[in-house]
């Protein structure tokens, strides 16, 4: 059974004085299985963040339904239960840390759940070890790098022992090193702890490692499938002003020029192998 399920979900922001009613999601249907690593791609304004906020009842659908582990997000009484199961990590690491000591920040979630103090201690230590920030547990967050702060934010979510983490562009404000740190952390959590991951991003390269890629455009799902399936449709993505990973782009362009290359290369290594093969054959 699907763990997260959006059924014909639509959402529109309420009418305000200077803005008319704007529908950002037009009947999206999407299911995510337990343990899956899904990358949600799209432009700014494609509705990907809006959809993400539906998965932990931060936003409620104006049409259709969203279920989390079978729980209806419209049910006010289930809100806390849903948020415990699905953690949401936001873009700006600075704005989601509450306390001025790392370990106390990580403890914030479990404290809200009313868990017994010794158990909170255990969870905090475990969560900090899981993101490899245990040595920094007594530091002040503002002294850490962006990537480290974002990992603390992830630890704060893991300490609630959720089944699923939704990350809303967690790397958008980080430098390349911070991005790598955060990405390898989420991949490890998915692999080792079996946590379902929904990674929202507009970096195509980050989507390559996912089990499934869902591309959104203007409040609808444009296409979805394995990274290979999705990134083979270079023309479709380009028509919607979306990029593909650099390696994929290179191979695609060479193919357009008539070179005999495989249909899709996802990583730099794959691209190099393909080019090597081509070159050694020719000469």
């Amino acid at each position: 059974m699907e763990y997260l399920s959006a059924q014909n979900t639509s959402f529109s922001y309420e009418e305000t004085e200077d803005e008319e009613k704007l529908e950002v999601l037009h009947g999206v249907t999407l299911g995510i299985r337990k343990g899956e690593f899904v990358a949600l791609l799209g432009h700014n304004g494609s509705g990907k963040s809006t959809l993400a906020k539906h998965f932990n009842a931060m936003l409620l659908p104006s049409g259709g339904k969203v279920y989390v582990d079978g729980l209806d997000t419209m049910d006010e009484n289930l809100k806390l239960e849903i948020r415990r199961r699905v953690g949401l990590v936001l873009q700006n690491p600075d704005n989601q840390l509450v306390a001025s000591v790392v370990e106390e920040d990580v403890a914030f979630g479990p404290e809200n759940l009313g868990i017994a103090p010794p158990e909170i201690r255990r969870r905090v230590d475990e969560a900090l070890q899981a993101v490899e920030m245990y040595d920094y547990r007594l530091n002040a967050p503002y002294k850490l790098s962006g990537g480290q702060k974002q990992r603390i934010a992830i630890a704060g979510i893991i300490a609630m022992e959720p089944d699923c983490i939704v990350l809303d562009e967690p790397t958008a404000m980080l430098d390349p090193r911070g991005r790598d740190e955060v990405l390898s952390t989420i991949h490890r959590l998915n692999r080792e702890k079996g946590i379902t991951v929904v990674l929202i991003t507009h970096y195509m390269d980050e989507a390559v490692g996912a089990d499934r890629v869902v591309v959104m455009d203007r409040g609808e799902i444009l296409t979805q499938g394995t990274p290979r399936e999705v990134f083979s449709q270079v023309q479709l993505l380009k028509d919607h002003q979306l990029d593909v990973p650099q390696a994929t782009e290179l191979v695609w362009r060479l193919r357009q020029e008539g070179f005999d290359l495989p249909e899709c290369a996802l990583s730099a290594e794959e691209c190099v192998t393909a080019l090597q093969k081509l070159l050694t054959r020719d000469f």
């Binding site: 936001l90 370990e103 106390e104 809200n112």
Partner: protein, 274 residues
Amino acid sequence: MIRNITLGQFIPGHSLIHRMDPRMKIALTFAFIIFLFIASNFAGMLLMVALMFVVLLCSGVPLSLYFKSLKGILFIVLFTAVLNLFYGGGTVVWRCPFFPVMQITDGGIGNAVFVSVRIVCLILYSSVLTFTTSPTELTDALERIMKPLKVLHIKVHEIAMMMTIALRFVPTLLEETDKIMSAQKARGADMESGGVMQRIRSLIPVLVPLFVSSFRRAYDLAMAMECRCYHGGEGRTKMKQFHLTKVDAGAAACTALICAAVIFCTAYFPASLR
């Protein structure tokens, strides 16, 4: 320049004072401050100063740091001391030749000395509290001490949470102020010249973006807190539990002893000594 301001000047350590229960530290600080004003003769004041020095030495924080914390209030001490010189009865020591109303009496000198010693002790003793207790421990302890006030419908948890968040965001906002100032300077804003009014006016282009971004941060933070199941103080637990130990008992006993001695001094020694 902004980065040099020390706020939440916690200095980590493992001294006796560091190990004390923050609730006890707050309680003893209050007791000290109250008795600082009860002590009204030299014998009592001497005891208070002695107690303060023992505590300073026990805190394991370099004394030079304490004196640094005094620098900022030097002007206030001098100001109140000078002001106090002219108030008080007793024999006249000096009279201003132009304004006969202004006169210094021996009582006034006594007042001036007492007030300065009181202010200095007050600052030093409360510095011990902030130097040896982390801001989170402080707010936590305050929340627990104020818990009984819930009966009066005072939102104790909310106040403590606001303090925690405020402390957490002080360095973040300072950094941001710095950035905005640099950005405005890069656009030709002049913040270092002109009179007081001019300088205050030149701060407006810094404050406006700072406010806007603070609201954005607040919105983000509120969302992040909700995502982490925050729903007010009800049913909330705390990872860190406070325990009173032998050190706390010892400190309380010592303070009680000194306070009793101060009461004794005040009651039995003639007040004319001051």
